[in-house]
Symmetry: D4
Subunit: 246 residues, 8 copies
């Protein structure tokens, strides 16, 4: 836009052309969008592809395009091993985290102070894939992550064994299916932000995560917020945004 | 029926008359029903009137009828003070438990061994009316009841302060609204039967108790069962049935 | 913890170290948890693996670990025959109950007085797998179980034929899909605790068990409580807990 | 239309005019509609006003109009006593059935053979208003109606006491709230058509009649059909239609 | 039971033994059940197997058992061709109606007067399998059935073309998915009983038949009743029950 | 913005100031917004206040402000008569349409060609308030509106009597509660755009308009679209937008 | 019908025969239906087959029948490539649009003025199949269509880049899954009719398009209407109907 | 606990007494709880009473108790003016924020660096009470809060006018009812944590906030989390927790 303005000043384009050009050029030229892109680039946030429902060809092509267009890490979530092998044949530096179901290319990023820890807790072992999605997301954004899996409230002593990590964490992600009660207990033990991730683990009255979702939203502990069912990625992004605040 | 049979033996009634009589007389004459009524009378289970949606006149009339027809205690649940005063004017021995919203006439009953305690826990103070409905029901059935109110998981130390009562109880009723997480924690701390009562306490995503109901049904703690929303009476009945088992 | 205290008394550790150690050691050292584990071991409650969504390798590994770590029976619910054969090759003493879809290793347990019978009723033949899950669970816990399958209310004489068993049972489990009406009828015929298990049997307005679940919760018979849809295991655990009460 | 055709034959109107006339005249001239109206008049089906949400003035005006336009009975459902008194002041022959909440003017109708009985059963006393709406509707249509109220399955002997009436009925209406189990039991005892009316009686998981509705639709008894929640009028109409079949 | 009574009269059994025997013998001896079974046998109602979720072996075995135990027709609903071929190899007289997905053995039955016609209408071609299930059920019960498929209200002239059949039918079954509007239109054109069958045809906001179900229950036409989603069999049974009324 | 650009050309502001100014000035200066406001003013679209949940004072104040700020008509929807009287005392030119529950001040607008008629149909008389909201909205926007109320499909001849108006309309709004079947029938009779408005009329399975909403969305007639429950205003706006297209 | 009338005038048929004939002939002879068919033929609206749930044979047969019976374009929606290849072997002129999943035969149609553009926007790339279904439908009806895919509100600058097309469009179709927010933004930027198509894109709380559907219906932008989930065809038809208005 | 330990070291209490004492004393003595209380006191977090469903007497009593027991601010949410006046008469320093419906007593707190701004945006004016609840909560915790109300996406230029505040905020709370689209737009414009608060504003398909809730959870913008419907307090607490992180 600055170029256009200078041309206008030099008399090469008319006033109407500047206004029209700004409209035509659209938002790429709007200040807030440029600034936004610049900030993203500077902070090294990874680009993300939601692979579910995309073909292997599409994922490989988008990933290659993202890698050539920026210097950031790139991840494709909800990808199976077969898709990974297809991508790997085309992008040799691609890696695969099986538990998280994520294909990714890790690139240098601005690390967050490692004393600022993100803690991820799960209620059961079946919640681990969602937790791993959150963990890898946060790590690719440069965060130090601590995890304790399978510490649901049916055996609440398992949770208390991690009391020190709960106290030391800066942000806590709680991943739980079924009735999601772990969120309320953790929310009552800490004054740090708690991000709750309901999972589709369970059967019958669990309604594929809906019960955990509603229970977490109704939690008696204040200061808890909730993301979509199985949305480990979203929790990882939000935890990173909070953890990077200066 | 025995009378009919003897008449038949004496030749006063025909075989066809006995069969027809049994059909006509219906189930009052069937063995299982008679036994059942006898057992109820012997055990002193109270008769119950669900007062919601009934007029003051109807409640007073049904209560008077029940009192004259048996020697048991009688209760009318979900009754307000105004209804009580109407009833009291007609049935002077009627009492009122304001928190439980129950009008009742207490009569002697066969007491359960007082070392067999029913423990009632609530998550919050708003759950108390439902808990009191359960408590009074169980007491009128002759049970010893211990209660601890307002020990929800957002401050879980409040629950642990009652660890000894949890260990000593024979049956535990947990009353909770919102996300109902207290049930899962208690269910994980005891090997006694736990009866969960969801309450309509909460707002928004609590959906008038539906979320607590679904969460309790999805509880990760085994050995928990659930009654209808706000059904303190039902929980009190079930706890009594369990506690009376020899 | 006693060791730590003695070291403290002998001056080998500081006061701060004791407090820190207790926090670090976590809940394993807390009285209630220790007692709890001891009780479980003494009573011979089986360990349970929910096999749905786990790989054959995971189930076999967890089962082997549980067998080496305790002297209790071990069961894996919702397992198909193929998984069983995989496990069997690694754990020769494993058995399979096809109807219940449970792999288990039965070990000696403290038997409950066999006159204390648990009765399991189903409405239809399609409800049998869930009922068998409850039955095997209760039997592995040392209970005597009586079953009558396919006695739904559309032909209510089938139920009355089992009147004596209903009267003699100490706890009754009713397993039913569709509209779940059997629960209300049984609940009206007995003064024993009734545990209702809705099943996902049915189509259309049955909504995979939701209708049976809601109907059972709304039952006009008092003293009925409900577990999650298809949760035969949970009903078996609860019935066992009730049946073992002294 | 016949007039138009004759004019056409006589050459007074053109072919185009006949076709246009038929279009313009619309459906009043269509054979099936005329026949339909004639049939209704001949059979004496009552006209009905759904009073809920209408003003007293509107109900009185519509009722007066219906009375002057036909020789049939007229009813206004879901009307309170205050509305009745307003109507009564303007239409002196109006009567009020308090339990059914119906204002009506009864006129001579073609009676159905009184040996063809419609039986109406309710599960509880709270279901009576809906049952009375069905009963009065059927009676105004000339049917003989038998009723037994409060014979729900929690005390199933109450139902069996009416076995003879069940066997003798030609059509059975079952009115029930909560879990609606009475429908399945009755449906299994008879080979006559059963019309199920769910009521909004109940609380919590009854969801204002939705649970009873879904349970009735999922009934294990074949030959049962269901009308809308609290729709006693619709059940009365349908039973009348069935009962009048020659 | 008569035998027992005579033995009692002859002094061979005690009074207590008669009462106990009646309890033990259960409901088979109760008058209403015996009469019921006799009536069913006399009327030739077919026995039905719900094949969905059963193995080929189970269906063949139950069908063989039903055939040897009665002289009625037998049908297995929701069966695919493969299951039919398995059954056919064991029961050569078995036939298959592909559109209705029913395996059946047709046996002589008491025919209903053929002037009493059951009319079955569908909104679209996708509703035909459900309609065929109703048709075959009604035919096996001895009814004359007329069908008109694909006359939904989006082209309402298709319905009016069948006006005469609508007028002449004694009972009308309307099968429709999506929004189920055909039911309201037909209900307004006839004074005969209308049985509505919602189907799971449709997508998105049709919610697998739930929308059609709720719409039919809310129909503005009186005298309409509804069966479960896709329950052609139930509609056929009910229509037969109505059509056989004398 | 043009001013800023000229200043820049004249050297009075820097390039950075122009960019910053554009950001600061925000959207008021963006071309599309300016054009949009201009267009609205030119077309005479009325301003609208949703009065539900606002106080009388708030509605009067906002209405006065809108009247002074533009030359358009102004309407306040969902207002009762009491609110109107409050407003009338402050804004004497305010009028009230009781059936539509709208307070409005009518001002000259650019009329749409009166041969372009919007037709509004309702299924019942209870749907009239919503229809009147649509009608008044469309009329204040300068449209010619034709209405036919109470022509639901239970008496479908009432609809056919208006066939000519259906054929001549340019846009059709169909307002219906309960099962909303009128929409499908009308949608099948016309090739003009049909806007469906579900209303909260009905009870039980009507679920306050949800059933009508879902049924309309599932309509078998193509070319139908749906607005929110009871949203007569939205339908009126959309019909006006369509009708004004050149 | 004209033939019948002339025969009547000539005395060859009686008055009764004319009336009967009109009833028997049904609606094909009714003026409005004839006119309707004529209009459709004249305007060249394509015939449509909903292929989901139909066999390859059925689709090919219906398509062949439609092609021989009219001169219009014909389309079969929701068809996969395998079905296309089957059809292609029988109908060589058939074409396939893979993204839209539509088999079609394009025939000459009356083109809409190309300056009347229909704009189709999607929020994401996963919404494209539904958008393509709308596009091809509209194009086969002779409309000029402009599309911009993947301009969801999470990067709202992508939308603003198409401001000119938004301003110039006559009708706008917005296709979006997840939370469907694009509809509200577009609805606020234009005074043209906006047709919203929710898609089943998303997971968890998106509930297969239900959340987008409800959000679009609740949109704060007036003048938006909604079609069924994934119903690109319906949106294309409605947009065409609006765009063809003179 | 330290006291007990010292007594133990000094030999005044036995080892068993220490363990028992720790169990008896319960959680008050557990390290994490003590630390937690200390931290809360130091940070000046206000105590909160949820006044809905409590009597005036209860609220006044709890508030007085909290004020005497700590030096923190105290707030009672969801309180009407009448309740405030009752409280004010007993606690003269109580203040009332009418829009937020909060009674509070403000006390000195540790202020957060005022350059760390919390931004609160609402979509409409009806969302203001919920936003004010969030604002007052955050302010009482010592935060600097900026608010912009009524900038919903139907007029998206209103949002862009606040672009600078969006860029400068450290945490953003977005309060919106209806379809909640504002959240997605804001989430796409910022890399700061966004807390979404759905409100019960809207009608029909808004389902009292459920649609906004689900839409926000399904938001296409990453890094957004959601609290319960109308839970302005919870959002204020969470924003404060994030804003205080060092």
């Amino acid at each position: 836009m600055a170029v256009l303005l200078r041309q206008y000043k030099e008399g090469n384009v008319s006033e109407a052309q500047v206004i029209a050009g700004m409209q035509r050029a659209g938002v790429e030229d709007l200040g807030f969008a440029e600034v936004d892109q610049a900030r993203e680039r500077r902070q090294g946030f990874p680009e993300v592809i939601y692979a579910a429902g995309k073909t292997q060809e599409q994922v490989a092509a988008i990933m290659a395009s993202l890698l050539s267009g920026s210097r950031q890490s790139v991840m494709a979530t909800r990808a199976d091993r077969e898709m990974y092998e297809f991508v790997k044949a085309r992008i040799p530096e691609a890696e695969y985290q099986e538990a998280a179901r994520i294909i990714y290319v890790r690139r240098p990023t601005r690390a967050v102070d490692p004393s600022r820890k993100i803690l991820i807790l799960t209620a059961g072992t079946s919640d681990i894939p969602v937790a791993e999605e959150a963990r890898l997301t946060a790590e690719l954004w440069g965060n130090e992550v601590v995890t304790h899996y399978d510490c649901g409230v049916a055996g609440i002593h398992r949770l208390f064994a991690h009391m020190r990590d709960i106290e030391e964490a800066r942000v806590i992600i709680v991943v739980a299916g079924m009735e999601g009660a772990l969120v309320s207990v953790v929310g009552g033990l800490t004054d740090k932000p708690v991000i709750a991730v309901p999972t589709s683990v369970g059967y019958g009255a669990s309604f594929h995560g809906l019960t955990a979702l509603l229970a977490m939203l109704s939690s008696c502990a204040a200061g808890v917020s909730v993301v979509n069912i199985d949305n480990g990625f979203g929790a990882g992004v939000l935890a990173s945004k909070i953890n990077r605040l200066d």
